[in-house]
Subunit: 222 residues, 2 copies
């Protein structure tokens, strides 16, 4: 599948590398695709990433969005709308957009403040700004390494969520999650249900603190 | 142990009945202890509860708080401070208070709006209002039936949280959780960490919707 990723930090790089490994045609979108040597926070430079991943391209947000049959937003929640505007997301028709974002504020120390609430949900905001896109919230509830390798944690016995208005779009994202090895994929409902996984991040940062590492996730026992 | 419960709805009744069954001396506090016949939402009348539980008393908030070596706040988050003021909580010294509350707004339909956020944490507010009390957030992340009978769900393989400033207080609450059958008790940190389980309620209401029932909880795989 042709996949366009909006964002080239640790989430975009990790998802992109895994999707290339699985045989997909990945375009990794970044703000300035000429800056291949720039050091990144907790991630490779894009030159290092390309050298490692090989069969992928680093392109602009706009090119990545145009390339993808499936688009993944993998930038910080605070800049998702801006990045999607740069990607001309209003002109993409009914493409499926996976929103992996969280709004975290690191400016007041650790753990970061989690800005999501009943009245502040990034997936809902994206869906409202780009009504033609089919937005599916997923994968925001864990670290990037867990996203693409669930089996490495508790034998894969934990849960990933999808939320969005379009059933076919959720089916497409569910298929991608199965490629990664997910078996417990829980549909929470329409895009308003994305408030759940976004507010959960307030718990996640505390679990991270208590465990002393981010290699964790929750299993919904039901 | 002498246990005082502030609140006589389904959470207070369920915790109280279980603690009586375990041999503890329980005083269930209610706004007006003369109204034993009043029908309650999703719970027994207090007369029915007393007839069923037998060895317990129904008293005022103030008497329940005075009675308890351990106090459990089991009223809605929106009225916890008011109930604690009625209970003279400022005169209780360093008693341990378990805060089980959530702020849920049912006025705009289902699922309820979950009001917790980084800037709105009931446990922190209670601790600030009553600095002598040793507040421990716990048990707010599940339905009452799960609180007192964790083994009935997935063989007990799921997680309950504690958060608070005082280690001894958390140890006392941990002991109570073990009485109920909890084995995975995760200490999230000081009282500010209560933002985690309170914001998680935004997820819980969606899990409840997706599962179609509230007999669920999360296991933290780490």
């Amino acid at each position: 599948m042709k996949i366009g990723i909006i964002g080239s930090g640790v989430v975009g790089q990790t998802l992109g590398a895994k999707l290339v490994e699985l045989g997909h045609d990945v375009a990794l979108g970044t703000r300035d695709p000429k800056k291949l040597d720039e050091k990144k926070n907790m991630a490779d430079s894009l030159g290092e990433w390309l050298a490692r991943v090989k069969k992928a391209r680093v392109v602009s947000f706009e090119e990545a969005a145009a390339h993808g049959e499936l688009i993944i937003a993998a930038v910080h929640g605070q800049v998702t709308l801006e990045a999607l505007q740069m990607a001309n997301a209003g002109k993409l028709g009914a493409k499926v957009l996976v929103d992996t974002s969280n709004e975290l504020d690191f400016s007041k120390g650790m753990p970061p403040r989690v800005l999501a609430s009943q009245d502040r949900c990034n997936a809902e905001r994206i869906q409202a700004a780009f009504p033609s896109l089919r937005v599916v919230k997923s994968l925001n509830t864990m670290a990037a390494t867990v996203m693409v390798n669930p089996k490495a944690l508790a034998g894969g016995d934990h849960t990933v969520f999808v939320a969005g208005n379009d059933k076919d779009a959720k089916a497409t994202v569910t298929q991608m999650l199965r490629w990664f090895g997910w078996t417990d994929i829980l549909d929470l409902g329409d895009v308003s249900a994305a408030r759940g996984p976004e507010m959960y991040m307030g718990m996640w940062v505390r679990l991270w603190g208590a465990a002393g590492h981010g290699n964790l996730n929750i299993k919904v026992q039901r």
